[in-house]
């Protein structure tokens, strides 16, 4: 009789060597890495193009009068123009110009924690009037039927016909804090009338505009002549 495990079911089969276990994991991991790198390299330019198209679409949606745009970066209170493919640290902002190369407004990024996850959007800002003029949601996983009303509720969107975001005389922040108020209680141009039933999402928008306004709008005001001239140069 043989002593093999098949003949003696009580006998424990010998353990494979550590080398065998490690080499199996190593080979599978290498194969995995190879596949991931191949697909990453293949899809990278396509994903980058998709993101560029999505951003472009959002910019011209929030700046409907614009026919062309330039990109600027805000870093440590300074603003400078950047070329399309430049890799830079800092906050990117987009200036829109009409067919006569006249400045029509800015598109700025803003983000804040919503009900489910972070809401990211691009909003239009007219620094001459000190108005927030609309927005386009780039990323949101808010509750369908409630939080998603920020893109469909006409009364709520009417808040952004010209939401007051004027910069103070010292150019250090906004004259008035932008804040969301309970539905039906809006009294001032810098207040956002919340959507009934989705106050968390409405508040998130108020916080993000206020924070972005205090951070970016003074820098924009300081460098407005540079932004206006940039297209003509």
């Amino acid at each position: 009789m043989s002593d093999s495990p098949q003949n003696n079911p009580n006998e424990v089969p010998p353990l494979p060597s550590s080398f065998s276990l490690i080499s199996t994991l190593g080979v599978v991991s290498m194969l995995s890495g190879l596949l991931v790198v191949l697909v990453y390299e293949f899809t990278k330019p396509i994903i980058a193009e998709n993101q560029r198209v999505a951003t472009e679409r959002a910019i011209f949606k929030v700046l409907p009068k614009a026919t062309s745009r330039l990109t600027f970066v805000v870093k440590e209170g300074k603003l400078k123009q950047v070329l399309e493919n430049d890799k830079t640290d800092g906050e990117l902002i987009y200036a829109g110009y009409n067919a006569n190369n006249q400045f029509v407004g800015l598109a700025l990024n803003a983000a804040e924690q919503g009900y489910q996850d972070i809401i990211k959007l691009l909003y239009g800002y007219n620094p001459e009037k000190g108005c927030i003029t609309g927005y386009d949601v780039l990323k949101s996983t808010e509750t369908p039927g409630f939080g998603t009303k920020i893109t469909t509720d006409e009364d709520f969107l009417a808040n952004f016909n010209c939401l007051d975001a004027k910069v103070n005389k010292e150019i250090t922040g906004l004259v008035n804090d932008i804040k969301t108020v309970r539905h039906g209680t809006k009294q001032n141009a810098w207040e956002i009338d919340a959507i009934a039933g989705s106050t968390i999402t409405s508040n998130a928008l108020g916080r993000m505009f206020n924070q972005s306004g205090h951070t970016l709008h003074p820098v924009i005001t300081q460098h407005l002549p540079l932004i206006k001239k940039a297209k003509k140069q």
């Binding site: 494979p16 276990l21 199996t24 599978v28 991931v36 697909v39 990453y40 998709n50 039927g145």
Partner: protein, 221 residues
């Protein structure tokens, strides 16, 4: 090394069709319910999640089956998870390349396919014990069965929750959408109703078969 199954059952149509209905991963085995409840608020999302799951299921089962004789039993689960995570990463990049809107709609649930117990379960229970061809065909059947279940839930939820199907308006504009249907509770309600219906139909069919079997016996006695 893993011991190959010496008495493998022959390849029949059942290998493919079992996953579609008889062993449907959602309605019968109750596996992978997290995406079933989470992303089925529209048919489009259901189809996209179904397609991503089929890709991961078929590719991971194919690779597990191809390597089954070389993977030591002690590291098999780790190896399967590496393989599954690889294909989930690939599908994540592919969906971003196909449509960013769709990618944003599906959110974290694409990455969470890696912990879908249907996929690891099939790798461990089937692909590691069967031939490459059978594993691929079985995975395809299971994946299509999973997609069918997602679409059955997504269809009802989108129709009642938005009055639409695949974005096309079905009900008149006077229809007041049942918002609850596209919210998380709607997933539980619709899944429960489908399970009730399917179990009822299966029970009736089983009773009919028993009655038909009993008739010749009575006649003979």
């Amino acid at each position: 090394m893993a011991t190959p199954n010496k008495k493998e059952t022959p390849l029949t149509m059942d290998v493919f069709t079992a996953g579609l209905w008889k062993e449907n991963p959602v309605f019968v085995m109750m596996l992978g319910l997290c995406p079933v409840l989470a992303v089925t608020n529209s048919v489009e999302n259901s189809l996209a999640m179904g397609a991503a799951s089929i890709f991961v299921l078929v590719c991971s089962n194919a690779l597990v089956s191809a390597l089954r004789n070389f993977i030591p039993k002690q590291v098999r689960i780790t190896t399967y998870i590496i393989i599954i995570a690889t294909f989930v990463t690939l599908v994540d990049y592919i969906i971003q390349a196909v449509s960013l809107d769709l990618y944003n709609k599906l959110g974290a649930f694409i990455q969470l396919i890696v912990v879908n117990c249907l996929i690891l379960g099939r790798a461990e229970a089937y692909a590691s014990k069967n031939s490459f061809t059978k594993s691929v065909i079985s995975a395809l059947g299971m994946g299509l069965g999973f997609t069918l279940a997602l679409v059955m839930l997504g269809g009802v939820r989108e129709l009642l929750g938005a009055g639409q199907l695949l974005g096309y308006q079905i009900f008149s504009t006077n229809f007041e959408p049942w918002i609850v249907m596209i919210l998380p509770p709607g997933g539980f309600i619709v899944l429960g109703v489908w399970l009730l219906l399917i179990n009822y139909v299966e029970e009736q069919r089983a009773e009919k078969i028993i009655n038909e079997d009993a008739v010749p016996h009575n006649t003979a006695s």
